[in-house]
């Protein structure tokens, strides 16, 4: 499986659910380099999931542009695939059929499709379940099938919308570790939306904190930790504490009117900024 990432360049992005409604976010800038794992953290309602849907091409922005390697993004594509909070597998299909459904849409020949599906199932260690009905799998296994369904498309970018929040702690930790290690091994980009600080520290190279209404990116942190990352590692704990402090200060920003706090945005890095 040969996957490569993309350089992401988002300029002046804005979104309103209705033409006269308040913007969910506006004039948002974001850059991410090839193969980077980016986490967007924020409370419910700050617009982070909407942002992810727009990056996936599932929603159209009301303003701004997005480019992946100089290609303007205007709709969904199998090159940037999203994993949702729930696996949303198709229950009338077996595991292998679920994994290969995207290849089927793309008109892949059956033999090549089977080879790619087998490879993706091996990646998520579900090769023994190819012929199992997805309804017979545990929640963690179903989420692995969803991961394989995304990986089989050889995406340049994998977008994760709180994908492990419904899982138990052990399964969640295992999947967090696995997704990061697969992404690093295959070289594709990750954008993870989460409200779990630990998840951001364990999975991301860089974490952005989003807050306010309309939503804005108020903090940015590099997460320069070695792999494999362990929750109890002091460096992980220290990073977690930093992010948590920033998260709390972001919550205070969210409580105040956005236009009265234009200087709250932390611009530790030039790659992310907010122009209110």
């Amino acid at each position: 499986m040969s996957i490569r990432g993309v350089n992401i360049n988002i300029q002046g992005l804005g979104y309103r659910y209705t033409s006269r409604g308040k913007p969910t976010f506006s004039n948002l800038m974001l850059e991410s380099k090839r193969g980077e794992a980016l986490a967007i953290i924020g409370r419910s309602g700050c617009g982070k999931s909407t942002l992810l849907h727009i990056i996936a091409g599932l929603n159209r922005p009301t303003e701004g542009t997005m480019h992946f390697d100089d290609k303007k993004i205007e709709g969904p594509s199998s090159r940037w695939v999203m994993m949702f909070q729930a696996p949303h597998l198709f229950p009338w299909m077996k595991v292998s059929q679920n994994v290969g459904v995207g290849l089927g849409f793309a008109g892949w020949p059956e033999k090549e499709k089977r080879e790619r599906v087998d490879e993706a199932l091996r990646l998520v260690e579900l090769q023994d379940y190819a012929d199992t009905n997805v309804q017979d799998l545990s929640g963690g296994q179903q989420q692995r099938v969803a991961l394989a369904r995304s990986l089989v498309m050889e995406p340049e970018l994998l977008l994760l919308d709180e994908p492990f929040s419904a899982l138990d702690a052990f399964t969640r930790a295992s999947l967090q570790r696995d997704v990061r290690s697969i992404a690093k091994r295959l070289g594709f980009n990750l954008i993870i939306v989460t409200h779990d600080i630990d998840e951001a520290v364990l999975m991301a190279d860089r974490a952005l904190i989003m807050a306010g209404a309309p939503g804005k990116i108020v903090h940015e942190f590099e997460v320069p930790l070695d792999d494999p990352r362990q929750r109890q590692d002091p460096a992980v704990q220290a990073m977690r504490a930093r992010l948590l402090d920033a998260f709390h200060s972001a919550a205070q920003v969210a409580g105040a009117p956005a236009e009265e706090n234009p200087d709250q945005a932390d611009t530790e890095s030039s790659s992310v900024s907010q122009h209110a």
Binding site: A56, L58, P76, S77, S78, V81, M82, F84, A86, H88, F90, P91, W92, V101, G102, G104, F105, A106, V124, E125, L126, D128, Y129, T132, Q135, D136, L137, S138, G140, Q141, R144, R149, M153, F170, T171, S174, L175, R177, D178, S181
Partner: protein, 281 residues
């Protein structure tokens, strides 16, 4: 890497399937016993009723309604070709009407399920039309269509289209909207969305609607054939009554029951085959 994907679990899943299979076999065995017993009881009552009619001098001339006489009339009906002709004629009308109902009902049901605007707009009109007795369309059908066959096909279609529409729409409204999002995300075209996501997702509901529609169509078919036409099971009943051939009349009624039951069983098997809901299989 993972810990929740132990190969042993695959064997556990296979074990689960094995247990389910043995339970299904047990249920099927029970079903056969209940089916046979129910029919035997019905036959016993029929035989008893026929015996009493035959023993009573005042009702003796109606002895043809009895079980034995009815069964004895089948070879003659077959040799004369009456039975085959009636079944073919009725089958043609039923098939034609049902095909039209499905061809119209499924797409309308899908649009209804997908579009709230269409659902709101069409609801009152559809509910109004649905409540009109199908046979009351007969004078209009005769006026519009030149052939009696076409009129009956129209009556069957208009009677059976509603269950197909409403069942399809109800099925679609229950579909997880995230499936559409996932499919779009994986590059599904609108046609692929229809054929690979929507239709498999609601096939259970479509076949349930067809099963209900078939029941309605079968009920409408016989009275419709009592009017005007000179073929079909309804006509054969009318003809037998007029010639006082009560054994043949009852044989036709029995044929209607057997065919109706067989069609319903086929629909039930299709529902089971296409159902992905746990507990339906």
């Amino acid at each position: 890497m993972s810990n929740d994907a132990a190969p042993g679990a695959a064997a556990a899943a296979a074990g689960l399937t094995g247990t389910r299979t043995s339970r299904a076999a047990e249920a099927a065995g029970r079903g056969v016993v209940n089916f046979s017993l129910g029919l035997l009881i019905l036959a016993a009552f029929w035989w008893l009723g026929g015996y009493m009619i035959a023993m009573n001098p005042q009702t003796q001339s109606f002895a043809g309604f009895g079980l034995v006489q009815t069964l004895q009339s089948f070879p003659e009906l077959w040799q004369l070709g009456k039975l085959q002709k009636a079944i073919v004629a009725s089958g043609y009308r039923l098939g034609g009407g049902m095909l039209i109902a499905i061809a119209i009902g499924v797409p309308i049901g899908i649009i209804m399920g997908r579009s709230k605007r269409f659902r709101d707009l069409s609801n009152s009109a559809f509910q109004f039309l649905r409540m009109i007795s199908p046979l009351s369309w007969m004078p209009i059908a005769v006026f519009v269509f030149k052939a009696w066959d076409d009129s009956i096909i129209f009556l069957i279609a208009i009677a059976s289209v509603w269950p197909v529409i409403f069942s399809t729409a109800a099925g679609l409204s229950k579909v997880d909207p995230a499936w559409f999002k996932v499919a779009r995300n994986l590059g599904a075209t609108p046609l692929q969305m229809l054929t690979r996501i929507i239709l498999p997702a609601i096939s259970f509901d479509i076949f349930t609607g067809i099963r209900l529609a078939l029941g309605v169509a079968w009920v409408v078919l016989v009275p419709a054939e009592l009017l005007g036409v000179t073929s079909g099971l309804g006509y054969a009943i009318k003809d037998a009554r007029e010639t006082l051939a009560y054994d043949q009349l009852t044989a036709m009624v029995l044929t209607i029951g057997v065919i109706g039951y067989a069609l319903d069983t086929i629909c039930a098997l299709l529902i089971k085959r296409f159902s992905w809901h746990r507990g339906d299989a």
